[in-house]
């Protein structure tokens, strides 16, 4: 008997909008893994990391952007990093890997006045000379834990728990609405 087929469904059904020059969209089908550094095998972990990414594990608030494999890496805990993007080829290189892809919802927000919208919910200092392109911070917005990552001059990615995706989207959308 034929088995049923399961459909993948993104948390916000690919939401996208543009309000007053600020665009906001869900980044769908994102792949995230966490990798943890073993307590007693620092050297091996670093060596594997350098082999894969050509440099040492980045330290907060700086993230690492790579073309091949196409991914971004940033430190989420003192001994833990998130790899976002092309993760399937690198999973096996590390001992402690956890698939985080489905735990998060990812939004991208961009536009000229993007900071005016973000400052309504983000407690981090986003002055462009302090929070540089490639910087990230794990913090809290509207009582929801989240990660903010600056990917370009006026572009930020926001990650928050997937179960409260709608509340998170509402928070960000309201911020845009309130300042435009």
């Amino acid at each position: 008997m034929a088995k049923p087929t399961l459909q993948s469904r993104s948390r916000l059904a690919g939401f996208a909008t543009e309000i007053g020059g600020i665009s906001l969209r869900e980044i769908c089908d994102i792949s995230i893994i966490s990798i943890a550094k073993p307590l007693h095998d620092h050297a091996l972990f670093d060596q594997n990391f350098i082999e894969l990414f050509n440099q040492a594990p980045p330290l907060a608030p700086t993230s690492l952007r790579l073309k091949s494999p196409n991914c971004r890496v940033f430190q989420t805990q003192i001994d833990q990093w998130f790899v976002i993007g092309e993760t399937n080829t690198i999973q096996d290189k590390f001992d402690y890997v956890t698939d985080q892809s489905d735990g998060w919802v990812a939004l991208e927000i961009s536009g000229e006045n993007v900071i005016l919208a973000l400052e309504r919910i983000c407690p981090i200092d986003l002055h462009t000379d302090k929070f540089l392109i490639g910087h990230f911070a794990r913090t809290m917005m509207e009582h929801m834990g989240c990660i903010i990552l600056r990917t370009d001059t006026q572009t930020y990615q926001l990650f928050s728990a997937s179960s409260s995706a709608e509340s998170f989207l509402h928070a960000v959308e309201t911020s845009i609405h309130n300042v435009t």
Binding site: A60, Q77, I78, P123, R138
Partner: protein
């Protein structure tokens, strides 16, 4: 309050959760003859200084580090912030 996280820099205290006395790191030996008495001391007996106090905070909306913060209970001045894990390791080494 602002807590100067040793790895992440200044962060609003609202990202953190407060636990209490840093002596919670010095957990007694469960095999001691008077283990129950020692655990009782460990769990219930606290200094309540008007002045510098070492206490545990957890960066829950951040990097999940447990920190030991030395805070003046009279002024809220924070004179040092350490990773609790580093302190715990030093403790076990000594």
């Amino acid at each position: 309050m602002i807590i100067h996280h040793p790895l992440l820099g200044p962060r609003d205290a609202s990202e953190f959760v407060h636990l209490g006395d840093a002596t919670l790191l010095s957990r007694p030996d469960w095999q001691a003859d008077d283990a129950i008495a020692q655990f009782h001391e460990y769990l219930y007996q606290r200094e309540n200084p008007a002045g510098e106090y070492r206490e545990l905070w957890y960066h829950e909306q951040g990097d999940r580090s447990w920190l030991i913060i030395t805070r003046n209970t009279l002024t809220h001045e924070i004179s040092s912030v350490e990773l609790a894990r580093d302190v715990a390791r030093k403790g076990s080494a000594s």
